[in-house]
């Protein structure tokens, strides 16, 4: 071989293999594509809200209150005469940001707890997992009530509440495969090469289990949107008049006899997003599990 010639950048990246697997899993399952496209559509609408929403979501027009769908207001207006479509679009931003940020935080914290706990093992693992079980035993609404009662109702506290409910499941989903992977010969080989525990966990174990965590993430994103809506519905979420989907349902609930569309449209929006994320996650999980397991050997 010629020496010193330029090496084509081989991109030996941990993520590329995982990415390949994800793409392959996706192509194998049509429903996950439907879920992904629907979800991305909603995300695009939310991002474009300032450009495409026909009205200011906070602008009141008391003469046009409680109208049904019309050409001027596609989805009708609420009790203050605010345009529901505009509020839905802006509310999507908030609902998506809250759920995404809280789930990312839960994924990160729960993932770290799970990997470290599974890797270290022994008594440490036992204590940590029992703490997780305690966390897991709180229903998300109770957890939300507790956090809000202690810290007050705000967007940040809502995210803390959702993240707290999701940490334990992520810790469990990260721990189980870590325990499997750490017994593999190649981890022993890493020790024989003198790699530090941190390096083994981040470079050698994490890419092996990240797919499972991501699948779990897409499913939990749907749950987070539901929790956010539930907490907003009982008035523990973002303060009015800021639009969120759960808050809109609650406001619509008060006038449900006058105009059902007030609650129906935000409910449909939640349904759409939760459904798309569940399809995405389920399809992904079904497709990726046997592939990842079978493809290794």
């Amino acid at each position: 071989m010629n020496e010193g010639t330029t090496l084509t950048p081989a991109a030996p990246r941990a993520s590329s293999y995982v990415l390949q697997q994800v793409v392959r899993a996706f192509s194998a399952n049509a429903t996950s594509w439907v879920g992904l496209v629907t979800f991305l559509f909603v995300v695009a609408l939310a991002l474009l809200a300032p450009l495409i929403s026909p009205y200011d979501p906070l602008e009141q027009d008391i003469l046009a209150r409680l109208q049904g769908p019309s050409a001027a207001h596609w989805f009708g207006t609420d009790s203050f005469g605010r345009d529901i479509l505009s509020r839905l679009l802006w509310g999507a931003r908030l609902s998506l940001v809250i759920s995404t940020v809280s789930i990312l935080a839960a994924m990160l914290i729960g993932g770290i707890i799970g990997i470290v706990s599974g890797y270290v093992g022994g008594r440490f693992d036992m204590v940590v997992m029992q703490a997780m079980d305690v966390l897991l035993s709180f229903p998300s609404l109770i957890m939300g009530l507790m956090v809000v009662a202690m810290l007050g109702a705000s967007m940040g506290n809502l995210m803390i509440a959702i993240a707290l409910t999701a940490i334990a499941p992520f810790a469990r989903i990260a721990r189980a495969p870590t325990i499997l992977v750490k017994e593999r010969d190649y981890i022993e080989a890493c020790r024989a090469l003198g790699y530090s525990d941190l390096r083994i966990m981040t470079i050698h174990i994490l890419p092996n289990i990240v797919a499972e965590i991501l699948v779990m993430g897409s499913l939990w994103l749907a749950t987070a949107i539901r929790i956010e809506a539930s907490l907003s519905f009982i008035g523990l979420g973002v303060r009015p008049p800021t639009p969120t989907w759960g808050g809109m349902i609650r406001e619509g609930f008060e006038n449900i006899l006058d105009s059902a569309s007030l609650s129906i449209f935000p409910s449909l929006a939640i349904l759409l997003v939760v459904f798309s994320l569940n399809m995405l996650g389920d399809g992904l999980r079904d497709a990726i599990d046997p592939k990842l397991r079978g493809g290794e050997r």
């Binding site: 081989a10 990246r13 293999y17 190649y186 024989a192 090469l193 790699y195 092996n208």
Partner: protein, 357 residues
Amino acid sequence: MSAAGPSQGANHAPSGGVGAHSSATAGAPILTVENLVTEFRTGGGWHPAVRNVSFAVQHNETLAIVGESGCGKSVTALSIMGLLPPANGRIAGGHIGFAELDLVTLDEEEMRRIRGDRISMIFQEPMTSLNPVLTVGFQVAEALRYHRDMGRREADAAALELLDQVKIPSARARFADYPHQFSGGMRQRVMIAMALACRPELLLADEPTTALDVTIQAEVLALLAELKTAYGMAMIFITHNLGVVASIADRVAAMYAGEIVETAPVDDLFAHPTHPYTELLLRSIPRVDRDMGGLTTIAGQVPAISAMPWGCRFAPRCPFREPVCTSRDPVLVPLPDAPDHQVRCWLRAPPAEGGHA
């Protein structure tokens, strides 16, 4: 001869960790294991899996450790690497002198710096010893980036060169391939490249060819022998395959039930196996040039570490057993006519009069 090692090494080698000799001195062994005792916890008590094992390995020398499954060969290797399971394995005594260091006294952090850099290990199972989600090139380069602080580019170039050295065909094209795209033999070559990346002074090969088919075995053995000579490193080759021993080793240590029962230069051992265990082991190799009247086997099996017999540990299975064998522990003594050849047997190598306790 310097290879008279084990007992002689005991005199000047480290008791406090400061060795008198430097690694560069010709003739000074790179590795000196003395009276190593490694214990495992089973059923509440600690039992020695390796007992009073001593040997030395020179630069550019291959020592083969042979024995049945469970005789302590792999445990000896793990003890040297400091990779015993922390919860239920420990080194209970002895010294492992490596160059100027006593590995037994080093802490985990110091050991980590030596592992993969100055001492490397190759494992038995090439199919599962590579991380399936990382490219082959990345895994070879990783050792260099970790131990040598090389940048990505420099390490990749060095890794490519290593893959060429271990004779991976079209290494450049396969650099970004994943392990599942490689055959078993190729994966073992990759493992060798990883282990040799930092040019270790000592390589531990734990049955590296057992999982490969015979033609690939020969290729991998030839490659190991070639690289050992090229790098001038010492190698400990652990195997239960005496055929492999004959082709690669300079010296052989036969282990039984955690003890070395016989050690000799390879030709000497094959010509004059002295310990009954070694003799029976050699006789139980199938040979193409002899009539297959039947294969000799050694009756019984290796005793469990929690139930070691008194006296000579091989005595219960030994056809030549005498009363002395089951009452007192035999010692490893050199044969009168060949000081390099040491045997632990009351009958075949009785200690000199009054020589030993």
